[in-house]
């Protein structure tokens, strides 16, 4: 209890001071904000953050694997823990035959998305007034203009301009999550074709055999149900793309918006536990993307009768 007293005092001071600091509301937009143009490439703040994440992952991996020791320690130990943990988890889902193929794409997506989600928590940068000022461009409705008139603010921009945050989690950009979802589903279909063959995989969705082999009305009804279930599963393969992308996008974007709005409404120190919650959400969402990809791969390679050919 005694060791916590300085922190409690600091927290109380921040609480009181935070009531009087006016903060400008950064622009909240679903579209990632445009920063600059690199030739024909439209570089938004989420693209910039994605580049930073890539460089960071590369640096960390490079430093960790420079002097590979047989008994790992430090950074190499952590990287091996990460990779081995993911590999064992994949193996428990997929069985030893397919694990090396299932593991590659989802594990890469997991590591990238985990780091990328955490980059969206730098809300202090736009709130402190650092960033690029841009004239407010309307985006369909007046949702973004719902902010109270502030008499004074730490914004360094001219009135009518909003601060564009420099860092935005790439997973809060729907383009990024949609691409990841498309890649994951194409991989799932590829594994399905590899395991079952062209006719076998499509035969899971277009099932007319039940109708033709029917010997009684009950069999015929079941065959008809099979047809509709097959078509529903075909539709659901494409719906999974939407679900993957919107699950990740919704969680991370909503987290960002909540942090910004709460930072505007209440004294700053109250945002701290919310940032902790957002860290938790970041890890969970990356993990859910990963485990769902692997689980759907597993479903894709099983035949229409659900045969379990892998021993666990």
């Amino acid at each position: 209890m005694k060791k916590a007293i300085p922190y409690i005092i600091i927290a109380i001071i921040l609480l009181v001071v935070g009531i009087f600091i006016p903060l400008s509301t950064p622009l909240v937009s679903i579209r990632a904000e445009h920063l600059f143009n690199l030739g024909p490439l439209n570089v938004t703040n989420s693209v910039l953050t994605a580049w930073l994440v890539t460089i960071l992952i590369f640096i960390v991996t490079f430093l960790g694997t420079r002097n590979m020791a047989l008994k790992p320690s430090g950074l190499q130990n952590f990287l091996e823990f990460l990779v081995e943990g993911l590999y064992n988890l994949t193996e428990s889902v997929s069985g030893p035959k397919w694990v090396s193929r299932f593991f590659v794409v989802p594990a890469t997506i997991f590591i990238f998305v985990l780091t990328a989600n955490l980059f969206g928590l730098f809300i202090g940068i736009p709130l402190a007034g650092l960033g690029i000022c841009e004239a407010h461009h309307g985006e369909g409705t007046q949702v973004e203009e719902v902010h109270v008139e502030e008499a004074a603010s730490t914004s360094t921009c001219a009135p009518g301009e909003e601060i564009i945050p420099l860092f935005r989690a790439p997973s809060a950009d729907l383009n990024f999550t949609f691409s990841l979802a498309v890649i994951t589903q194409i991989a799932a279909w590829t594994f399905g074709f590899m395991a079952l063959g062209f006719a076998g995989f499509l035969g899971k969705f277009i099932v007319f055999g039940g109708i033709f082999k029917a010997k009684s009305f009950g069999d015929f009804a079941l065959g008809l149900i099979d047809v509709f279930v097959g078509l529903l599963e075909l539709l659901s393969e494409f719906v999974k793309i939407v679900a993957f992308s919107f699950r990740l996008f919704g969680n991370i974007f909503a987290g960002e918006v909540m942090l910004l709005v709460v930072a505007f409404l209440v004294p700053l120190v109250v945002v701290t536990p919310l940032i902790g919650f957002e860290i938790f959400v970041a890890v969970i969402q990356a993990f859910v993307f990963y485990i769902l990809s692997v689980a759907f791969y597993r479903v894709a390679i099983t035949g229409h009768d659900g045969d379990h050919d892998e021993a666990h």
């Binding site: 679903i30 007046q142 949702v143 679900a243 759907f296």
Partner: protein
């Protein structure tokens, strides 16, 4: 009320209701799925890997409905 303001009102109301009411069912569904998974893991700990896999698949299907609600809400706010 003029048409423009009425449309704005309906948009915001619809967006809020779509997400709010659309999350009730999936919330309960995910709770039930996790309940089943935890009970079966307590009964039979060595089946844990498979149980967790199927639990996640069940949660994904249930959560998809909440995500459809989110998509409708976003469409109402930003596209209509």
């Amino acid at each position: 009320m003029e048409t423009e303001a009425a449309i704005q009102l309906a948009k915001f109301l619809g967006a809020g209701l779509a997400m709010g009411l659309g999350a009730i069912g999936p919330g309960i569904g995910i709770g039930i799925a996790t309940l089943g998974a935890l009970q079966s893991m307590a009964r039979n700990p060595e089946m844990q890997g498979q149980v967790v896999t199927y639990m996640f698949i069940g949660i994904a299907f249930s959560e998809a409905l909440a995500i459809f609600g989110l998509v409708v809400s976003l469409i109402l706010l930003f596209v209509v």
